[in-house]
Assembly symmetry: C2
Homo-oligomer: 194 residues x 2
């Protein structure tokens, strides 16, 4: 069994997504997930505290990547440009999990407590981005405004991408959504010309 | 006692705010709150399900007022202008509770589960505003983008107002914050000239 272990986490995630979709979130046990993945429960608990956590796997790495991209934006980039770099990073990562994203969202949409966890996760991401912007020299309230509105763009673009059945690349949907926000808040710019 | 009853809700809120500030949220019981207000526990439970609910009192009326202001914005108003009308309504209502707002926020900031409830409340408000905007004929994603970024302005302006010890009128801080957001997303405007 140990030759499979390096991929255990990914297999557990895929097995959980399948079972949640087939049987529902409540009706799936950790034992079911481990069995479907061809692994033991003990291996499951080496990777996840509970079945809920499978749905929120990798969020620290996601946050680090987004915050890292904001921090790494060129010196002199506007707050908007730095946030756009973070959104590009987020879109690239989520695009790589397109096969699981839709199933995951169906489960989250059906469970208020998971929706709350998503809200909290997004609020923490926005707070971390605001810190990164302040470290770039962006003053308040511009830093928090940029981070919070960036989080809104991420959430809305992601929902749109799923609604379109991930037919277009998420980075494209993200850029388009950011463009729509810019148009909304810049009345002088051509709002409806694309 | 009944001659006091018409004001029972407000007195319970004020008593709770005092006690939460003096003793802490956990150390305050419903019996303490009722006693401080000169009322019975039974009266308390006619108005609130538990002591947590005192902190979130009036949120439906608040949401209705904000959504109503968005819906009542002049025909032809831009999404931004309709959201600004909602923010004005929100600021006016919160300004009227300035004496309790700071105490309340200290308690919420100290309790993650109350912060989560605030997040959820704000997400619901934003969702209701997005519905009102769609009913005005605003398409998606503009409706949700406008509502979500409006919620960010509300949250940030409110925090700023408290940080400044409610020295300025909240409607003024709200308008200023909305102006900063507009400047951030309108690259042609002077972003860093203040």
């Amino acid at each position: 069994m140990s030759r499979w272990e390096p991929n255990a986490r990914g297999r557990l995630e895929a097995a959980a997504a399948e079972l949640f979709a087939e049987r529902g979130f409540e009706q799936t046990t950790v034992a079911d997930i481990a069995e479907r993945a061809g692994l033991t429960e003990r291996t499951f608990f080496r990777h996840f505290a509970d079945k809920r956590e499978v749905l929120f796997s990798g969020q620290e790495q996601f946050r680090d990547a987004v915050v890292g991209a904001v921090a790494a934006a060129p010196v002199g980039a506007t707050p908007l440009a730095a946030v756009a770099a973070g959104l590009d990073a987020a879109a690239g990562l989520l695009q790589g999990r397109a096969d699981l994203a839709g199933q995951r969202q169906v489960i989250i949409d059906a469970h208020p407590e998971l929706q709350e966890r998503e809200l909290i996760k997004m609020a923490r991401l926005a707070a971390a981005v605001a810190v990164a912007l302040r470290e770039r020299g962006v003053a308040e309230p511009a830093a928090t405004l940029s981070a919070d509105t960036g989080a809104a763009v991420l959430r809305i673009a992601f929902a749109r991408w799923l609604e379109e059945n991930v037919a277009r690349p998420l980075p494209e949907v993200m850029r388009e959504t950011l463009g729509e926000l810019t148009a909304l808040y810049a009345p002088a710019a051509p709002v409806s010309s694309h």
